[in-house]
Amino acid sequence: MAEPDVADFTPLTAGAEKQELSRPSLSYWQDAWIRLKANRRALTSLYIVIALLLFTVLGPWLWQVDPGLQDLDQISQPPGTDRRAVIVEDYQPWYGESGLTDVNGLHLARPATTQAVRLKWDVLPGASGHRVYRNLFPIGPELAFGVPLAEIYDNDTLYFEDRLDLRPGIYYYSVVALDPDGQIIDSFETIEVQVQRVTTREEAVQRGLIASDSELGIGDRILLDLHPLGTDYLGRDMLARLMAGARVSLFIGIGAPLLFVLFGMAYGSMAGFLGGRVDSAMMRFADFVVALPFLLFMILFKIAFGIGPGESGVFPMLVALVLLMWPATARLVRGQILQFREQGYIAASRLLGARTVYLVLRHMIPNTLGVVLVTLTFAIPSAIFTEAFLSFIGMGVAPPTPSWGSMSNEGIKTMLTHPHELVFPALFISVTVLAFNLLGDGLRDALDARMRNQE
């Protein structure tokens, strides 16, 4: 700027050039929003969070499958399973008769279906009895026959009917010869059996797969219920359960932080504004609560509140989270309030006659909102983690209420054979936590200049 001269101190005329703002004035929140929009990672996370909320709220409305309904035809099915089934006659008992007469050795008396697999065989050399095995894999040189299904100690009964938990797919049946003592001798036969999925007409009508006046009869193909993400170990639809679980997980994950942040704000601003001995007493109490071992007390409070029969246990968990997690926000807000209290605009407002409540509500709390919003965003993933963690060790929501944590707990038991039961809930937890964390980073960069990340 040039040195001021006399001309600078003469009054302006009406036609003089006015000072103009070259850019529109932006409020704090508008400015923050522009900065957030420029952050591609945070924006993507925001979209993911919105999508998750839509999935939770609109999902059950679009995909109206009861998450508790068991589809016993499709248990632990991965997504994209073949859903075709053939209608067959009702089950009739079988006493070993066979339509085929010219076949020797181990054979099927009838095409294998999920209703029954009927095996017939001839007496094996040296056998005084037989044992029937079923295996999911071909019999290798180590002669692992699989699950023994039946033992027959004479050579008169040369047939066996398997109705045990049959699933569509390939099974390997073996018949092994037994000596008079019931010990295996080195003589066996194996066949590979392709089991076809069938259902009876009555069952199909009962499950609502076909109408009761439908033309379809024996031998016709029908489609079983669709499960886009497969089913769990009780035949419940994964997609519907993930949606119902999202309600529980996000309700706890968002509801609890919202409540304890509000409480922490009230507590912290009160302590900060009252100051003095009240402040130190209040903050000392907050320090005590921080010192409580978090997970132990989560569990302790949860059992102290108790879960009655038929209750889901969502509410006790919410209360326990709120009781234990408020001090961090309270400390933060108190620190901010202490800072603001000494600032000029507060003194000015007080001079104009503003009362304490007005000062706190109008000037101080709105000024802390940015920091509080960031805290809230980071509190959500940790609450979701806590819920998942507790449900995983069986201390969370009570079955049959689904939550992502309890679904992971169930899925981990069948991780090797049916990985989808673990993968989907774990994926939802991870994506949600990740999205909220990245969004929190973005919000912190956008809202809080001092805490801005060095990227």
């Binding site: 132990l296 059992i303 201390m395 991870s430």
Partner: protein, 310 residues
């Protein structure tokens, strides 16, 4: 400094008293009856049992007895495993959890500092991206998934090599501890890496580092003496809460890897409503954590001479 430590210790004792009180009243509110089990209990047996556990006394008196016992370090007798003292359970199973926790903290701290320093040195280059991607995974994947997957990986590794390189589950030797400790420390390691990275970036841009460079100090000396030592301070601050998170977070890892730690006993005790074990374990853990936080705070004052312990 000694005065500071004394003051912190007195505060710590008051905190432990608060924890004990909260535990006592929380447990007192638990619905259910600890003496109600399958066996038929007559009136007189019940009265005897109540007298044994002091349950026939008024609540205020029970509380005083409980505090008195605590002061003498006596946590009482287990409700479900008769003739077993809670002290006994803690003595047997806490060392397991402690070793696991200490190993995990060491993994987390050393790993976090190293990776964090590395990412800041290779800022916006390939190592930075790779490590930060892993960090994001570590933060957002739940520990039970990582535990299960690492177990699966161990099974495959062992069957590939043909003999047991590292055991899949159980407890006993150092080889049992490595993988569970790593899994337990992973979340904290990821968190510390992030913290270390941003703190390191701040230090790299600071005046004293520029001065050191201008004086012609070798890069390794600047890194070790000027950057690392200053950048490590925020990491030490959060180490106290991190230790707390790791020791109590051990439940899942102990469950998945079948480790006989105190966390597993706590979960079992809760399922069986074993009052004395629950209260004893909680108070014990609480006291341990309070003590650890004090130790970390004192250490902080020693590492950073700028911090006055008052």
């Amino acid at each position: 400094m000694w005065l500071y430590i004394l003051k912190r210790l007195v505060q710590g004792v008051i905190t432990v008293w608060f924890i004990a009180t909260a535990t006592f009243f929380a447990m007192h509110n638990v619905p259910g009856d600890p003496l109600l089990n399958d066996r038929a209990v007559t009136e007189s047996i019940r009265a005897n049992l109540e007298a044994k556990y002091g349950l026939d006394q008024p609540l205020a008196r029970q509380y005083l007895i409980y505090l008195g016992n605590l002061a003498r370090g006596d946590f009482g007798i287990s409700f479900t495993q008769e003739n077993r003292e809670v002290n006994d359970i803690i003595r047997h199973h806490f060392p397991v959890s402690a070793i696991l926790g200490v190993l995990a903290v060491v993994f987390a701290a050393v790993g976090g500092v190293l990776w964090g320093a590395l990412t800041s040195l290779y800022r916006n280059r390939l190592p930075d991206y790779v490590i930060m991607f892993l960090v994001i995974l570590g933060i957002s994947v739940p520990s039970f998934v990582i535990a299960a997957l690492s177990q699966l990986a161990l099974v495959n590794l062992n069957s590939l090599v043909g003999h047991t390189v590292l055991p899949v589950a159980g407890w006993g030797t150092l080889s049992h501890m490595l993988v569970p400790a790593l899994v337990l420390g992973l979340g904290t390691m990821a968190y510390l890496t992030r913290l270390m990275r941003s703190s390191m970036l701040e230090v790299i841009g600071s005046d004293y580092v520029r001065t050191a460079k201008a004086k012609g100090l070798p890069a390794t000396r600047i890194f070790a003496r000027h950057q690392l030592r200053n950048a490590i301070l925020p990491v030490i601050t959060v180490l106290g809460p991190a230790i707390a998170a790791i020791t109590t977070g051990g439940f899942v890892v102990e469950l998945v890897f079948a480790i006989p730690g105190l966390g597993r006993f706590f979960v079992e005790a809760v399922q069986q409503l074993d009052y004395t074990v629950i209260m004893g374990t909680t108070v014990f853990y609480g006291a341990f954590l309070v003590f650890m936080v004090i130790v970390v705070d004192v250490l902080y004052g020693i590492v950073d001479p700028r911090v006055r312990l008052e």
